[in-house]
């Protein structure tokens, strides 16, 4: 008798709520998906649009998430200002793009113009990323507790308000060259050029980054520092240099992502880094923070879920205009991950650190 009470006791209220949550979400997803598919209100072309957009925005999230995950890897710091670093890249790219647009270069020499825009954006975001590390984060290196995180939030506000002060709070529209507006037609389906450009270049840059991290001496040193900074220092590795290198890599990816994000949504403003920043951070957690493949995977996964998810899960249940609920879907996914798999998809438990 007493044994049964004990076993029953183990299921406390929290467990019950968590199980209900799991079952509830699963039901919504399964029933919603089936209902949507049975109703068949969307054409294949429309689904393809969702998928393409998911991959596009996902590739941008993946690039931003890499910055979060690498900095977390070496410093155990969540760089809350990373989204705003993306914004600085987008802004710098905007000024370059606007200049090229006025001179006509953007229309006549797309490759050259695009390279110029990316270069300006990357240089700016990288410099700012490295400067924030040097000025704001390094003094907090040995400080325990929440202070470094608060500092990161402060840097985020500082960057936002500085750009607001310098360039105003209005939304500036990004130039929209005709070659980017066109679409490829494959088997009768329209695939927007901007999607192909963003996904293609993102894959190229992420592959390059992966090569740098896996194959170069500095990349290996970065992984070594992420694992055990003190042991790395004992081997003669200058940990500060590795940290600067890490912020540089993150800054480069942020600059590229900023330009792509701005081209996709055709606008820049001082607060634009916040939402993609938060989502990319979520993507990094989703993939397993600290893991580089995890950040890439998490980015694409989050992009897909928020693009395809609302229609697929919610339309069938009869929720009107489900597409507007994409942020809800995205953040629900993140909360679910945090509750049920806190270490992320590819993350490992913190326990097995030292053999």
């Amino acid at each position: 008798m007493s044994a049964t009470t004990l076993t029953l006791r183990r299921f406390n209220a929290v467990d019950v709520i968590l199980w209900l949550l799991r079952i509830g979400v699963l039901l919504i997803v399964v029933i919603g998906t089936l209902a949507t598919l049975i109703k068949a209100r969307y054409t294949i072309a429309q689904w393809l649009d969702f998928v393409m957009f998911g991959l596009t925005i996902g590739s941008i999230y993946a690039q931003i998430a890499l910055g979060y995950t690498m900095v977390y890897g070496v410093l155990r710091l969540i760089n809350f200002a990373h989204g705003d670093i993306v914004m600085t890249g987008a802004f710098a790219g905007y000024f370059a793009a606007a200049g090229f647009d006025r001179s006509g270069l953007l229309e006549s020499r797309p490759v050259l113009a695009m390279a110029g825009i990316l270069l300006v954006a990357v240089l700016t975001s990288t410099c700012i990323a490295v400067l924030t590390e040097r000025i704001a984060y390094r003094p907090f290196r040995r400080v325990q507790g929440l202070a470094p995180l608060i500092c990161a939030i402060g840097v985020s506000f500082f960057l936002e308000q500085t750009f607001r002060g310098l360039f105003g709070s209005s939304v500036k529209s990004y130039p929209d060259p005709s070659w980017l507006r066109a679409a490829f037609v494959v088997f009768g389906f329209r695939i927007p050029r901007v999607d192909v450009l963003v996904i293609g270049l993102a894959l190229v840059f992420m592959a390059l980054l992966y090569m740098v991290v896996q194959r170069t001496r500095m990349g290996t040193a970065m992984r070594a520092v992420a694992e055990d900074a003190e042991a790395a220092a004992l081997m003669g590795i200058d940990v500060n240099r590795v940290i600067v290198f890490t912020f540089m890599l993150g800054g480069v990816m942020a600059g590229i992502a900023g330009v792509f994000y701005a081209f996709l949504y055709k606008q820049v403003y001082f607060f634009m880094g916040f939402t993609p920043g938060i989502k990319a951070f979520g993507a990094a957690v989703l993939g397993g923070i600290g893991s580089i493949p995890g950040a890439m995977l998490g980015g694409f996964f989050l992009g897909m879920v928020e693009s395809v998810g609302p229609t697929l899960f919610l339309d069938g249940i009869g929720i009107p205009a489900p597409y507007q609920l994409r942020d809800l879907i995205a953040f629900t996914l993140l909360i679910m991950v945090l509750i049920f798999r806190p270490q992320g998809i590819l993350g490992e438990r913190m326990a097995r650190k030292r053999a």
């Binding site: 001496r217 290996t220 040193a221 992984r223 070594a224 694992e227 055990d228 003190e230 042991a231 790395a232 220092a233 004992l234 081997m235 003669g236 590795i237 200058d238 940990v239 097995r352 650190k353 030292r354 053999a355």
Partner: protein, 235 residues
């Protein structure tokens, strides 16, 4: 003059004085050991030498230079390399990458390749495991990786912190054999050990440490015969 001179260092963890005036000297080409019980301050001494901790008082001199202002990575680059306690290999990196990281301060590609070859001859087991992730190796193999990694930095003096910890008696034997081999190649060794019997038996000079102070020093055989050492550490 000794290669490494520790001159009356005092090290604090916050307000707790861990080292209360430690002095040692390590002659070039020798094996010097520092023995003592748990919490005596042996590892703290090595950490101070490597620049991971900074003494509040006293000085550490190496090859004619005072180490006070140098960071850990600079000290390693000067040829004073530590194999830390618990090995601390990079478990997610391959064995080969671990060796590469040991050679981080070396710039000559060809020389690095030669050094790696030398290490793989010294530890043939590692050759089969070069592409394997180091965290999956056995304790003994991990100790080999840790030692080989440190040797890749071309140390003039090797600091070893409890290399026998957690190893089987047979592996311990091998580790001490390796220390002797490395020393015979001209590398000075400063060995910290709890296993006083083994450590003193291969050491030229020994220091005995107790609660932050050196309480006894002498040649290896001398200390092995010392009544107080026998009673305290050898049973």
């Amino acid at each position: 003059m000794a290669l490494l001179e520790i001159d009356d260092i005092h090290v604090f963890y916050d307000k707790i004085e861990a080292l209360k005036g430690v002095s040692m000297s390590v002659e070039e080409g020798r094996i010097v050991t520092l023995v003592g019980g748990n919490g005596a301050g042996k590892s703290t001494t090595l950490r101070a030498v490597s620049g991971l901790l900074h003494p509040r008082q006293g000085a550490i001199r190496y090859a004619g230079e005072t180490l006070g202002q140098y960071g850990a990575h600079e000290i390693a680059a000067m040829g004073l390399v530590q194999v830390p306690e618990g090995r601390r290999i990079f478990g997610r990196l391959t064995v080969n990458e671990n060796l590469e990281m040991g050679a981080f301060t070396q710039k000559n590609r060809q020389q690095i390749a030669e050094d790696r070859e030398r290490m793989l001859t010294l530890f043939p087991r590692l050759r089969e495991r070069l592409r394997q992730v180091a965290g999956t190796l056995s304790g003994g193999e991990q100790q080999m990786v840790a030692t080989a990694r440190a040797m890749m930095a071309r140390p003039r003096a090797l600091l070893m912190d409890e290399p026998s910890m957690g190893l089987s008696p047979m592996m311990v034997e091998q580790v001490f054999e390796t220390i002797r081999t490395i020393n015979a190649q001209g590398v000075t060794v400063l060995l910290v050990e709890q296993n006083a019997l083994l450590a003193l038996s291969i050491a030229d000079t020994g220091y005995v440490m107790e609660s932050g102070r050196i309480v006894l020093s002498g040649s290896g055989p001398e200390l092995l015969d010392d009544e107080r050492v026998r009673r305290a550490y050898l049973g």
